[in-house]
């Protein structure tokens, strides 16, 4: 009988992951043992401390380039950069999730198991929200960090589920409009489980093809394969379905607007920023490390997917009347722009993609932070017609939202411009002229709905029932300031972060 040897593990390199998962585990214990009244005051500092500690750990291992845990995890440049981005965006998301001033008790329901619309549901409407959301958020963020570093298909599948399962639950926990929230959750869950089944079948086929699960092994096997290897190409196709679903690319985008609209707004912000970043982290690794050598076989299909994503996202955004749905379609179109950077299949493309994801994440989080503030008696007023005249009522927040919309539209001196420039120039460098042209057309179309919101806020008279902009609490203010500073800072002086992304743009393995 052969003796089993445990693979050596570089604990310093995976310390950030361990810290975030540790914060989640301690959070579960807090839920079990700390009295209800104290939980909020323990959970929020705990999770924030865990994330800040993870950020410090990431900075201290920033020069590491190792493959550890028997090759299951690759702590290389892109993994570290994306994990850093995830933790930073995660901190901002947690600030939004932890806000309890704007709505008394926070955006989350006290007890999700209470049937919506009953007497006991009305009684719990004034109680403080559930604190289970903090450990759930920690596990989701930890799973995303793991997903970016996964260097074989087993780890990638487990990480995919670890970050998806808490998100399904978080979607269902809205305090107001609970029916919408539950519906969003059930749709997200059923479609998410469906897509991960496809992902898994892809994993099985690729394993059958190569006899190994590691991306390095897959690349070596793929390089020797003929162009008629069914297992390989069916496997890549199935795997792509799962990945493109998580990144919300056309034709796997249909869940996005419903889920973004129904989920509690802080969770929507986290999905738009962090989930998107993690999904593209996985896509980058699969296609750059695993299948870059046989790109001629799959690239045409994915170029078509990118073009469809950019066009459908932009055109559908024009017709929306709800701000959260508008931002959802805009995030679909943005996934298309990010994908042009991936399809460049160069280090420049990797750097541009990573920069785009971080820059877009901060802007979209700030935008959703503003959405949480515009409220009337029924909670958030998300219908666009209700936003008419908001510029006269609260010039400060309308001005802030205008800056964010201009950043989305890609106006120079905002991060939207620099990040689009980064991915499109990388795509041009790889001779993907069609993609760049479609990207520019789509950006022009997409500018229309953004500017329409701006015009609506300033040029319409405020009506009697125009909602008010609530004064943000400390947490939301902080999130807004961070998002805004990042949006303008990455537009005016993108140099340092862009340089960091370039230094971190080569995969190992």
């Amino acid at each position: 009988m052969e003796e089993l040897h445990l693979p050596p593990i570089d604990y310093a390199a995976i310390a950030p992951l361990l810290l975030v998962f540790g914060a989640g585990c301690v959070g579960v214990l807090v839920e079990a043992f700390v009295p209800r009244a104290w939980r909020y005051r323990v959970q929020v500092p705990l999770l924030l401390a865990g994330l800040v500690a993870a950020l410090i750990a990431l900075i201290s291992v920033a020069d590491k380039r190792v493959s550890t845990a028997g090759g299951a995890l690759a702590i290389d440049g892109p993994a570290l950069f994306l994990q850093g981005g995830l933790v930073a965006l995660g901190i901002v998301s947690v600030l939004l999730i932890a806000e309890r001033r704007v709505e008394r008790g926070g955006a989350f329901v006290a007890q999700a198991s209470v049937v919506a619309g009953t007497d006991s549901d009305r009684r719990q409407s004034s109680q403080p929200g559930a604190t289970e959301v903090y450990p759930l958020t920690a596990f989701a963020l930890g799973g995303m960090m793991l997903f970016c570093a996964a260097n074989d298909l087993v780890t990638m599948f487990v990480a995919l589920e670890v970050f998806s399962l808490p998100l399904y639950l978080l979607c269902a926990l809205a305090r107001r409009r609970r029916l919408l929230s539950q519906e969003a959750s059930v749709k997200y869950f059923l479609l998410g489980a469906f897509s991960s089944a496809f992902f898994l079948y892809g994993v099985a086929l690729l394993y059958g093809f190569a006899g190994t699960m590691s991306f390095t092994g897959l690349r070596e096997a793929a390089a020797e394969a003929g162009s008629e290897d069914t297992l390989l190409f069916l496997g890549i196709a199935m795997l792509s379905v799962g990945l493109l679903f998580k990144a919300a690319m056309v034709p796997f985008h249909v869940w996005t607007p419903d889920v973004y609209q129904g989920a509690p707004t802080p969770v929507t912000g986290m999905m738009a920023a962090c989930t998107k970043l993690a999904a593209f982290g996985g896509i980058l690794r699969v296609f750059t490390v695993g299948f870059a050598d046989i790109n001629l076989d799959w690239e045409p299909i994915l170029i078509a997917v990118a073009i469809a994503t950019m066009l459908v996202g932009a055109v559908m955004a024009v017709t929306q009347t709800d701000i959260k749905r508008l931002l959802a379609y805009s995030s679909i179109a943005n996934a298309g722009y990010v994908f042009t950077g991936v399809l460049a299949l160069s280090e420049e493309g990797v750097a541009g993609t990573m920069f785009y994801l971080v820059a877009y994440g901060f802007t979209v989080l700030a935008a959703f932070a503003v959405v949480t503030l515009v409220r009337d008696a029924d909670g958030e007023a998300t219908h666009l017609s209700r936003w008419a005249g908001l510029g006269r009522r609260s010039p400060l927040f309308a001005g802030l939202f205008t800056v964010l919309m201009l950043a989305f539209a890609g106006i120079p001196l905002t991060s939207g411009f620099t990040s689009k420039f980064a991915v499109f120039s990388a795509a041009l460098g790889a001779d993907q002229v069609t993609l760049v042209i479609v990207g520019l057309i789509s950006s022009a179309v997409l500018a229309f709905p953004y500017l329409r919101v701006v015009v609506l806020m300033y040029l319409s008279e405020p009506a009697e029932d125009t909602p008010t902009v609530s004064l943000p609490g400390v947490f939301t203010s902080l999130a807004l300031v961070i998002g805004l500073v990042a949006t303008i800072g990455l537009g005016v002086v993108p140099g340092p972060v862009l340089e960091l992304a370039e230094q971190a743009s080569s995969f190992i393995g």
Binding site: A116, R178, E183
Partner: protein
Amino acid sequence: MTPTYYLVLSAALFTIGAVGVLIRRNAIVVFMCVELMLNAVNLSLVTFSRTTGTLDGQIMAFFVMVVAAAEVVIGLAIIMSIYRTRRSASVDDANLLKY
């Protein structure tokens, strides 16, 4: 042993599951079809483990079982909460979010 039979059976089960997800209305049945798909994949994994002579596939099958169990817990929690509110588990009834 002919691995092809097992792979064909696995593909057939996966397809039955996928078609079930698309045409069935009851959320519980839809969810059971997803589980069928996951288990069809397990059969493939174990077969490939045999054909390639490596253990990775069998290990992966264990991971899939654990993940599927976790998914059942979460899925049933979500479906239960929506059922108790609406008195129906039909996916067609959840139609507040559209366009």
